[in-house]
Amino acid sequence: MRITDKLKDQFGRIGRESAPTQDSHTPKRPTSTVPGVRLGHDLNSKVPEGDPETAWDRRRDEYRLVSPLNTKKMTIVVVGTGLAGAGAAAALGELGYDVHAFTYHDAARRAHSVAAQGGINSARARKVDGDSLHRFVKDTIKGGDFRAREADAFRLGIESVRVIDHMDAIGAPFAREYGGTLATRSFGGVQVSRTYYTRGQTGQQLQVAGAQALQRQVTRGTVKLHTRTEMLDLIVDQGVCRGVVVRDLVSGQVWAQPAHAVILATGGYGSVYFHSTLAVNCNASASWRACRHGAYLANPSFVQFHPTALPISSHWQSKSILMSESLRNDGRIWVPKKTGDTRPAAEIGEAERDYYLERKYPAFGNLAPRDISSRAAKEQIDSGHGVGPLANSVYLDFSDALEAQGRETIAQRYGNLFEMYKRATGEDPYQVPMRIAPGAHFTMGGLWSDFNQMTSLPGLFVGGEVGWGYHGANRLGANSLLSACVDGWFTLPFALPDYLNPLLGQPLPTASDSSVREAVARVEQRTASLLAVGGKQAASKFHRRLGEIMYRGCGVERSRASLLQALAEVRELRAEFWNDLSVPGSGAHLNQALERAGRVADFLELAELMCTDALDREESCGAHFRSEYQDDGEAERNDQRWAFVSAWQVDGPPQGTPGDLVFTRHAEPLDFEAIPLATRSYK
């Protein structure tokens, strides 16, 4: 029996042909106002029927297994070695699978999970502060403005307990109380203390521990780690994902790694904005390539903007460094009342300052949630109140705190942050107020997956930020490390065997299979077309311009007009890219210009989908704020029409050839049983 037939037996109809579950009872999804968008069908989330709180436990018991004697016969590819990727590869390696892990870095430890500062949430609920699994789920769902799957959030909470135990055991030195037990702190958007941390480097400690666990499996021989190797395409055989095609970044050699299943753990796409808190190499290529093969991309317009990033002060600045949110505990945010006021901060008197967060949100003040603070700052900057050389930031002023608590206390609390700020900007925050601005940070959207973490492309699984799960339209602080850890260590190792079970004994595709040859040919064709443009502009130039378009049109606040303009500009820029791109050198050696060009080419397509999704979704929710849909500055959700996940199918000609992308919107309806729908308010 052919593998696809066998899969069809197991899963019913699969992939593009998957059965529309829309029946006469389901309401019709709203038609799109975006020209050219097609309407698809409703998607099956595969969440077991019944109470969402017990869904995961029940599902785990149902999963089919692969016997320990057979695991070594199954090959799994894991792309990315961040918290989710390293975790999944290590956990599957521990179970004995033949795992191939890929990273474009020189070492597994460098993935951008390292940059997370704050901490990792866990619903351990040991303290008597009223925390519980239910409250964790409530905070997560409510924080995400009811655009996430409830059962996912429960799974996240349930598995969060052993994530802490495991990460602690494998070497993350969590902060401890004097009595020796784990210390916690509270984080934005919640009223309990459930965030576990290791100073300001929680991400790094978890990432290094995970990478070490991965190296242990490399020593054991279960995981083959391929560093400096970038995934550039998927091997897809009759609608089933059966491996990857990668490029050795040093030698330029393109090669194929067939597999029974592929896990993408390649992170978010926030760097489409060019200036973001992401690392300079972060990219969307892996997920976009999957998307072009029929994996749907969910809610791509849901992007979190961090309110306390450093503003852009010069052309060559490569990113917006993230300043810890904790600064907002003691700093007061203000702008001059007068527009276009270019006087230094010290010359602007108390009466001429507008502490707009304290004015508009007296209950939360400067500690208002991320999306609200970001939006408020954007509003001030856009209305001409921005400060700094490019009038693109707001003040975060510590003078009151310095006066009240003394320099020593403030230095103790924020000394290292102040130092970092001074180094980056040349301004001393003890003397003049800091300048901050919203910066693109985390992408809640991502590849759509069902409850088993499998995308709409059978055989392709996701873990971490590359997926869409848990966070809805806005992510709660310290939930991102958790979701990556849970996916990698405690979800994928359960879910994968269920998919692999019927594949036992199936040979992998070989060099003579057309699926492999075609995939390799696609990669080589794409490389050749990038090299062949022969223009005059570096890819980084297009990337910078794309970022400007996206910040303006699809940023903290979007409107129909801004999005339509952005759409037109993105298409124009893409055309210019394929006309005037310069990629010196060849594909047969280490060529960073080529790598960058490939990534920017994907961003230029993804950006169009992001704008399309933002334009399509005619409501405001969480980080997606459409200026047309607001209630006096507050996001106005429309649960009647939009309580579903938009999962986009992308069709179109190969990159670099003329023709338009065609987007089809599928939908996964969202039901809320345990956490009833409610309006978010921080006033």
Partner: protein, 255 residues
């Protein structure tokens, strides 16, 4: 072989499936004696020598008590613990132990130096700061101290080649160490050389103690501070005590 399979083979040869073989290898060395063992050896033998230098320094200070005290001490060394032990036995035991320790110290140092050079490669590192200069000086000071030991033995123990004109070897019941010392240091070049070497020795000992703390795995802050302090004090004592003698002879204070 049918034509179509051959054609297939030719086509598949282009497609690499599975990881290509790894070609580049980093340099890797297998050492017979681990470097950490060499370092421990250096720490132990260095400590032994430091102890000897401290005792030697103590003896040298008798020079300020006059010729008789000094000569008497020198003679006592030859007959220490007699009749419990045969004459000269303590002296020879010390000579053997110290000689072997010195040999081990020098060999280990040379091996470490060579391994370090190899591991660094052709592009030399920038040396900055006192600690780094101290470490950089170690082989140099070590070589000069080694030369000094040879000269010192030739000059004042054996009286061979470079001894002063009035050198007198010890006889069965008397030593002429004081007279030999004064005669030797009357020569300005020799006096300057001795004082200079004492300065180098002080640096070598001070740096040696901090390195030793690390080589022996002393992680506690107090431990390290104590060892550094001992090294520092010994260095100062060497400089003031040993280093002063040639100068004082040269200036006529001691005669």
């Amino acid at each position: 072989m049918p034509a179509h399979t051959r054609a297939d083979k030719a086509a598949t040869a282009v497609v690499q499936v599975g990881p290509p073989p790894v070609t580049n290898k980093r340099p890797q060395r297998n050492h017979l004696i681990p470097s950490w063992v060499l370092k421990v050896t250096m720490a132990v033998t260095g400590t032994l020598w430091a102890a000897f230098i401290a005792i030697h320094l103590f003896g040298n200070l008798k020079v300020f008590q006059g010729a008789q005290a000094y000569n008497h001490y020198a003679h006592w060394l030859r007959e220490a613990f007699y009749p419990l032990l045969p004459k000269l036995s303590v002296l020879w035991a010390m000579r053997v132990v110290l000689g072997l320790a010195l040999l081990a110290h020098i060999c280990a140092a040379a091996m470490i130096w060579w391994r370090g050079r190899e591991a660094r490669g052709p592009h030399r590192a920038k040396i900055r700061g006192a600690r780094a200069w101290g470490a950089w000086l170690m082989p140099l000071t070590g070589i000069l101290i080694g030369c000094f030991i040879v000269i010192h033995v030739l000059d004042l123990t054996l009286g061979l080649g470079i001894q002063s004109a009035g050198f007198a070897a010890p006889i069965s019941d008397e030593s002429f160490a004081y007279e030999n010392l004064v005669a030797s240091f009357r020569r300005p070049a020799m006096a300057c050389f001795y004082s200079l070497v004492m300065l180098l020795l002080a640096i070598h000992v001070a740096k040696g103690f901090t390195t030793m703390a690390s080589d022996l795995g002393a992680m506690g802050r107090r431990w390290r501070a104590t060892l550094a302090l001992i090294g520092g004090l010994l260095a100062v004592a060497i400089l003031l005590g040993n280093g002063a003698i040639p100068i004082l002879v040269l200036t006529g204070v001691l005669s």
